[in-house]
Amino acid sequence: MLEWRRRREPSPAMLYASPLIAVVLTMLIGMIVFTAMGYDGFHAVRDIFLTPFLEPQRWADLGVKAAPLVIIALGLAIGFRANVWNIGAEGQYIMGAIAGTGVALATYDMTGWWILPAMALAGILGGMAWAAIPAFLRVKLQVSEILTSLMLTYVAVQGLYYLVRGPWKDPDGFNFPQTRMFTTDQTLPVMMEGSLVHLGIPVAVIIALVAWLLMEKTTAGYAVKVVGLAPAAARHGGFSADRVTWATLLASGGLAGLAGLFEAAGPFGQLTPQFPTGYGFTAIIVAFLGRLNPLGIVFGGIVLAATYVGGEIAQTTVRLPQAATGMFQALLLFVLLATDVLVRYRIGWKVRAA
């Protein structure tokens, strides 16, 4: 008989191998499920997981999709390390975009290099403000940040609908529910001619490096990990759990807000009711796939970006419904959580007791 045996120490090899195993298993399971549903499962999986990497003209698109996922996931991962479960990143992402758009609409007849940085700052502050509510409620009143941050996401979505249908509706927009288009000074500079590749992509990489340095090389990063792993030890060590809660929620909110602003001032170029695309939720999967490690998250972001880009390809090639992308993403997280068991356990033959 095979049995699970608990490892004395978590296996470092499995720690890095299990996300890869999870991706491969997800491809296999996906293939079976979609074949069973009557689609061309083999080509669906190939188009979702491989085609985006094999065709160079898709790389720009991968980067554009990966950037917001990576930026949001970096913030979330820091919180998850400290057992702070901000699952309302989608709301902070929307609030960041709203705050940045507020600056854009106030400056639409102005020009200047300072406008975009001001929008970015507003985006960060907007996301932070939205995350400050769950932070305050958790620190002062021990209210679960899981529920409050998620509830505030629904509030943010309605707020966005209200603004684009009401006060912020483009006066020259034929009554469509959308804001004015942003001007050149309000749009992220394009890095490659003729593509959508914008400034957000290098910024995501830089933030990943900074986050890695912060988590691995500074006392602050150490405090976050200790508070998450051993709250009692953290208290003895003089690390304040409240300060870590504040810091991680504000950091993740600010990063989600920045990602939202990048998306508004990049691919969208305005705010529309279609703006909430669920990146804030997908970023949770990215954070876990990246093992909550900032550099791993860059890898995770690219994989999840491929499911978006590849999902679109599979829509045309094998007529896979758009919703299949979401199912693949969720399946990936399930399989990842399941393969995690390999980190803590190993499989061995059961020794019969005499």
């Binding site: 209210v143 899981i146 409050t148 629904y154 509030v155 707020g159 209200y162 979401g326 969720a330």
Partner: protein, 307 residues
């Protein structure tokens, strides 16, 4: 005239409260056994789509309800295997379950968008169910009465039965319960299955009773409100009933305000009400609490492995 309006308000209120009540009641039992399943929203969506698909293809709403329970249990079992047998993180797995439910329901539901079914009808004969006054009491469908019976049943089960006592013991102190010989993991599997069945049923209430038409993500976060309700109710079924109907009232108010054509408040701002109310209620619960950890089961969310 006013009584007619009052009766119609009662009908809307009951209908709006029932799905959250069901989902929250299931989650209450799950949490009493010491497990935090954040996947309520996902299980509700799976139940909603399974119920609709079966009702649409067989023409039987009753079979749809059964299928919804089945789908809820099936998804809950995925959570149970991951968290109980593979000791995965409960928060992460619950989130995965919700993301999964959103994905699966919109994948399967894509073929049903805009299709309609016969709505779940009232249980009692027309003489009672269409009576202008008595319909406030007798005009509801089977799920409404079932939900009320279940509140009573769960309340009695937890407080008056031996099995209920064991379930609570497992949630309060899993190590001791294990030491005196109770099968902690098996009991938690059972509780999670029950939670899944009720969440599935609650989800199907949206697609089979409230709107007899399929729409993507039709539960709109009610699963999360159900989770908050369990905290509000301090893990007590009686208070859960009160809480669910309070939320039903908030949602009814939103609908009535829309119907009355209130223009000074935008519909989007009204739509925020249930979510803001949830945050407000959670906050007030914490301000009003006496003990440090509310009344949460002591082992809530902690993994258990018998070694």
């Amino acid at each position: 005239m006013t009584t007619a309006i009052l009766v119609s308000i009662v009908m809307t209120l009951v209908a709006a409260s029932t799905p959250i009540l069901l989902a929250a009641l299931g989650e209450l039992v799950v949490e009493k056994s010491g497990v935090l399943n954040l996947g309520v929203e996902g299980m509700m969506l799976c139940g909603a789509v399974a119920g609709f698909a079966v009702a649409f293809s067989t023409g039987s709403t009753g079979l749809g309800l059964v299928a919804a329970c089945g789908a809820g249990i099936a998804t809950a079992m995925v959570f149970a295997v991951l968290t109980l047998s593979l000791t995965a993180n409960q928060v992460a797995t619950g989130l995965a379950l919700t993301i999964f439910g959103v994905g699966v329901s919109s994948l399967i539901g894509a073929g049903f968008v805009g299709r309609t079914i016969t709505r779940l009808g009232p249980v009692f004969p027309a003489a009672l169910s269409e009576h202008p006054l008595l319909r406030a009491v007798f005009g509801h469908d089977i799920v409404v009465y079932l939900s009320l019976a279940l509140v009573l049943g769960v309340s009695l089960f937890l407080r008056r039965t031996r099995a209920g006592l064991i379930l609570r013991a497992v949630g309060e102190n899993d190590a001791s319960a294990h030491a005196i010989g109770y099968p902690v993991i098996a009991i938690r599997y059972g509780a999670i299955a029950f939670g899944g069945a009720l969440a599935g049923l609650g989800g199907a209430y949206f697609s089979l009773a409230l709107t007899p038409m399929w729409a993507d993500r039709l539960t709109a976060g009610r699963g999360w409100i159900a989770l908050a309700l369990v905290v509000f109710a301090a893990w007590k079924p009686g208070r859960l009933l009160l809480g669910a109907y309070l939320f039903g009232a908030v949602m009814t108010l939103e609908l009535q305000a829309k119907a009355a054509g209130i223009t000074w408040l935008a519909p989007e701002l009204l739509a925020m009400a249930p979510y803001l109310a949830t945050v407000a209620v959670l906050t007030m619960m914490s301000i009003g609490r006496k003990t440090g950890r509310l009344d949460a089961p002591a082992c809530l969310g902690k993994p258990f492995s018998a070694s």
